[in-house]
């Protein structure tokens, strides 16, 4: 009879570590973004032209892409961790799938905007 072996979940350990690495990286990325857009520029001065001028610089698109990648992965994994605290063991798989779907949809939306850029109406 075959024995059932549960191997250690290395991917959870990887996720745990990357929550710390991405978190430390998000301090300059997210704080810089919030400081510039919310505090210094302000929402009253942001419009379609502002976005197209900003994204004319490849550097800002790369900055925004890094922010999207790290913030979304960090945020969705954080949400997954919170939800898993309230979920029974047999539903873990579904929580993981839902988190992945959430991440994928938001990632595609954000990446489409960043790569496609501003289309003039």
């Amino acid at each position: 009879m075959a024995r059932v072996i549960h191997p250690p979940k290395y991917h959870e350990m990887t996720a745990w570590k990357w929550m710390r690495y991405s978190g430390l990286l998000l301090i300059p990325l997210a704080w810089g973004h919030v400081l510039i857009q919310d505090v210094l520029v302000g929402v009253d001065r942001i419009d379609l032209d502002y976005v197209s001028v900003r994204w004319a610089y490849l550097g800002w698109r790369i900055y925004d892409f890094l922010l999207l990648v790290f913030a979304l992965a960090h945020g969705v994994n954080g949400l997954r961790q919170v939800v898993l605290d309230f979920i029974s063991k047999k539903n873990i798989r579904w929580v993981n799938r839902a988190a992945f779907a959430y991440w994928l949809i938001m990632m595609l939306l954000g990446a489409a905007a960043l790569i496609g850029g501003v289309r003039q109406p």
Binding site: L24, V43, D47, G75, V76, A112, A113, V118, Q120, P121
Partner: protein
């Protein structure tokens, strides 16, 4: 949510450390909620450019501008507290027990408020300007 999970929210360990744990989760979920809305509104520049102005108009309303001030606090607190957790987890694991974490919780809140106040002042002034005060 089980009853046990709910009572644990109140009784587990307790003290300022547990308060920071709750605040870390609340601010994190709040920022993720905003990130989700923000990715959707920004994606309109590509999918429905004519709608972008309407999306931004919502952010320019007074309730959202006040919410934005709390959003900035959430981003700052989650970052400072996250750095505290990362530093303990990665470099000071044996210091998690004892008084050191409790002190660091107080320091984290103090640093967060100090960093937030100038931003809150500038953003608060914008709200007052909009209200014509």
């Amino acid at each position: 949510m089980s009853v046990r999970a709910m009572t644990n929210l109140i009784t587990y360990r307790g003290g300022v450390s547990q308060l920071s744990y709750v605040l870390h989760r609340v601010t994190g979920l709040g920022v993720l909620l905003f990130l989700t809305i923000h990715v959707v509104d920004t994606s309109t520049v590509f999918f429905f450019p004519s709608l972008y102005a309407d999306a931004i108009a919502i952010y320019r309303s007074v309730p959202f501008m006040i919410g934005e001030i709390f959003l900035v606090f959430s981003v700052i607190y989650h970052g400072v507290n996250g750095a505290r957790i990362a530093v303990f987890d990665l470099f000071l694991v044996n210091r998690w027990e004892g008084r050191t974490p409790d002190n660091s919780v107080i320091w984290t809140m103090a640093i967060s408020i100090l960093l937030w106040l100038p931003a809150a002042f500038i953003m608060g002034r914008n709200v007052l300007e909009k209200l014509g005060v």
